[in-house]
């Protein structure tokens, strides 16, 4: 008995970690979602969530996340494709990944300077003769900066998928008379679909829950689910409603992962 106990003694810290920081928080969020702002047990939060205000917010959050994911994919796929064709591909890949090491806040902050009224972007527009425009605090700036931030996370899985693909497959497709477009559509794309899927997962879910960027770059114009949660918890102090939105975000996350992932790859 003693030996069995001491054998498993080392597992205790990890088990405690799972219990306290993985299981308990989820249970607590679920528990709090059933309390209204006065602390009474009720379903008010869930009923409120299905009022037009919250539904509209959820839909717009989805729309922005979709746009961000789509643009990121549009830029990343060709980039990853070109990367595999270059000579020093590991070096180029490294250069693309470097920005992801820098704190997200600093990148957002840098764009405050670039997009500001007297910033670089506006000076460029002046030179081109378009004249200065309000760039910061618009939908455009929000989507632009988000796409910029998520690109490395999208390129990486796609690059890996493309890199793993055997070049003999392309030769075979060529030999059998496939055009470049057919080769891409029938051979390359299906084989890299897993990479695209995990890339979309890595982008879409964080895009739904962004809250710092919405505040800094879009000046509260864009409200995502993440912004709403932060607002409810830290500003309105309505933890019940915040928890309810969090519950829905978790559900959405699971549905999205189930829809896009055939099998999960390690991060």
């Amino acid at each position: 008995m003693k030996s069995k106990l001491s054998r498993n003694l080392y597992a205790i810290p990890y088990a405690l970690w799972i219990l306290i920081f993985v299981v308990a928080p989820i249970v607590l969020v679920l528990y709090y979602s059933f309390f209204d702002i006065e602390g009474n047990l009720s379903l008010t939060n869930y009923i409120n969530f299905f009022t037009p205000v919250y539904l509209k917010m959820t839909l717009s959050s989805f729309w922005y996340a979709f746009l961000i994911t789509a643009f990121t994919l549009l830029i990343s796929y060709p980039t990853a494709f070109l990367l595999t064709k270059t000579k020093n591909k590991q070096l180029w890949l490294l250069l693309i990944i470097v920005p992801s090491w820098i704190n997200l806040l600093l990148k957002a902050y840098a764009f405050l300077g670039i997009f500001g009224t007297y910033g670089t972007a506006n000076s460029l527009l002046e030179v081109l003769g378009i004249g200065s425009k309000q760039i910061l605090f618009t939908d455009f700036s929000f989507i632009f900066v988000s796409v910029y931030i998520f690109i490395p996370f999208m390129i990486l899985p796609i690059f890996n998928a493309l890199d793993e693909m055997s070049p003999t497959l392309l030769d075979a497709a060529n030999d059998l008379g496939a055009s470049a477009w057919t080769t891409f559509r029938r051979v390359i794309f299906p084989l890299t679909l897993d990479g695209v899927r995990s890339g979309c997962q890595v982008v879409f879910i964080p895009a739904l829950s962004l809250f710092m960027l919405t505040r800094l770059i879009s000046g509260n114009r864009v409200i995502t689910l993440g912004t709403a949660i932060e607002q409810q918890f830290l500003v309105t102090q309505d933890w019940g409603m915040g928890s309810t939105i969090a519950v829905f975000l978790i559900i959405i996350m699971f549905v999205f992962v189930a829809l896009t992932g055939s099998r999960k790859r390690g991060m």
Binding site: P25, L106, M253
Partner: protein, 230 residues
């Protein structure tokens, strides 16, 4: 900011004379180092525990529980930890930030260590036991040396995650305690000011050094056969 006249180091001077900011930098570093250290210990023990689990089902359950904190959005982690700490009566401040950083670094360490542990041949352990090693000896003389590259990788990842984190810290930091990213956020909300630029440059340089350090440490160990990482 927009009227360039000449180069100056004034902003750096201002930065270094700002004691409040220096204390915040110190806080950030202390939290990062402590949380990386503690989460590495818990994570290594956890990885060993996961490996020793026999059933396939329970192993998969453990692995998915492990990855919950990696896949969930920061906002949810932050909000749920805020509830947790308030319920548990932990005062928001240094300890709540430290605990939450440990919490979200543990699964990363596990993921870095587990592959090394899995590729270790079981015959090594059998040989050690045959030669009369105690369990403790096996752990310290065989297992730990073998998985050292994974441990270092995990430690550095935990360090960067902690330094990088904004969202979770933002939720669980109370009044009075602040880390660098939270401070930058509150400064940036007030608009562009040049001492943030100076600060950003310093952080950027520090990040680069950290990455180079990480690169060389993994490279050094890769000679002893650390595969998988390109």
């Amino acid at each position: 900011m927009y009227n360039f006249e000449s180069f100056t180091l004034d902003w750096y001077r201002e930065l270094f004379s700002d004691t409040r900011l220096l204390i915040i930098v110190l806080n950030t570093v202390v939290v990062a180092l402590l949380s990386a250290l503690i989460s590495t210990i818990i994570g290594v023990l956890g990885a060993i525990a996961i490996k020793s689990v026999k059933g396939r089902r329970s192993k998969n359950t453990l692995l998915s529980l492990n990855s919950v904190l990696i896949v969930s959005p920061d906002v949810i982690i932050g909000a749920s930890f805020l509830i947790l700490f308030t319920m548990a009566g932990v005062k928001l401040g240094f300890y709540s930030v430290l605990l939450s950083h440990i919490a979200f670094s543990v699964p990363i360490v596990v993921l870095m260590v587990l592959p090394k542990l899995m590729e270790m041949s079981p015959t090594l352990l059998d040989a050690a036991y045959d030669l009369g090693a105690s369990r403790w000896n096996v752990l310290t003389k065989v297992i730990i040396p073998y998985i050292t590259p994974g441990i270092f990788a995990g430690f550095f990842m935990a360090l960067t995650y902690s330094l990088d984190d904004f969202a979770v810290t933002f939720f669980v930091t109370g009044n009075g305690f602040s880390t660098l990213s939270v401070e930058i956020y509150s400064l940036a909300r007030r608009g562009v000011s040049l001492n943030i630029n100076a600060l950003s440059t310093l952080i950027f340089i520090a990040t680069i050094f950290l990455v180079i350090g990480y690169y060389f440490i993994t490279k050094q160990y890769s000679k002893s056969g650390m595969g998988g990482k390109k």
